[in-house]
Symmetry: C2
Subunit: 192 residues, 2 copies
């Protein structure tokens, strides 16, 4: 909250960093944010799964590689935000250290950074299981499944905390938007 | 030349890709371009040496890794250019295949791509030797020195070809700018 609100017309960039377990709804929520924001400003989605096919193809799911993944993502995010883009990052990013580092770097560059904790209880995650990861672990496969076989450190004080197992997507989206608008980071909604 | 000229006011992004041997003057020329362009539009320099400290710290100078380096650079460049940024890439990028691939990807995204071949004869490169690489190879060190111990494939038909050993920096810069302006990619110079 140390960054002063910016004026709407400047189209100032910022970073919205979604963190959460697999199947918690990060990508769906990020895409909903992108849809809404892009009517009024430049927006770029940086999805962890996509980055693993582009700038991070070499990385695995070890702690060391996940930290590198966060660093590369943060670097690209800052460059885009510095050019006035609203950057929406959707990546598990399980380590508090990595998220805090990316926040510090963004703020050092004068770029607003909001972290959004996307949470759902394990039964919900298992029932969604978009990529079949929970099933594969249940069946005995040896996978890095964050929150089950691999650590996840929830944010202690996220800027926004949404419970995707307890509210519809639109409600979560609007709560994130409200936080963004409260910081003066995007124009108010258009009149119909 | 298949991309139609764009209108000035749109601040359309594009990619200016400098290729050339070590000490040929890529970074100096790229910085001169950035200085000139940034008075009228958003500009981002992607310097190969800087990228090797950020998104490409894991890569070495093998052919395989240089191709990956070009891919990551191109990916970031396209994302920025898609948001209206003039992206100036300064990297050895010795392989024709990699440069052609990045051009094809940019043009597939509707993003103008100009390659600039930055050339100087070997005696000039050796006399500049900004990083002491030519000296170290002369002294017998086993280094990947592009153009000496490592291959360099010059562009067959670069959009611009500058000889930094035969003309001052300002002349090279203005020739690149002229090519950019001929494509309608940046506003005309401001009146004094």
């Amino acid at each position: 909250m140390s960054t002063p609100p910016l004026h709407y017309g400047q189209a100032s960039g910022f970073i919205l960093w979604f963190t959460g377990l697999p199947s918690s709804g990060k990508t769906s929520l990020a895409e909903a944010l992108v849809d809404t924001l892009q009517s009024t400003m430049r927006v770029q989605l940086l999805d962890g799964d996509v980055l693993r096919h582009t700038i991070s193809r070499d990385l695995d799911y070890s702690r060391a590689d996940r930290l590198i993944q966060a660093e590369r993502t943060g670097y690209v995010a800052r460059m885009l935000a510095a050019h006035g883009v609203a950057v929406v990052v959707a990546t598990i990013s399980p380590y508090q250290e990595a998220r805090e580092q990316e926040r510090a770097r963004a703020e050092a560059d004068g770029l607003p950074f909001l972290d959004v904790f996307v949470e759902a209880a394990l039964p919900t995650l298992e029932s969604r299981d978009r990529k079949g990861l929970y099933r594969r672990v249940r069946e005995g496969e040896n996978l890095h499944l964050t929150g089950v076989t691999d650590p996840y450190e929830p944010p202690a004080h996220p800027d926004v905390h949404v419970r995707t197992d307890q509210e519809p997507l639109e409600v979560s989206r609007d709560r994130v938007l409200a936080a963004v608008r409260a910081r003066g980071l995007c124009p108010p909604p258009r009149q119909a």
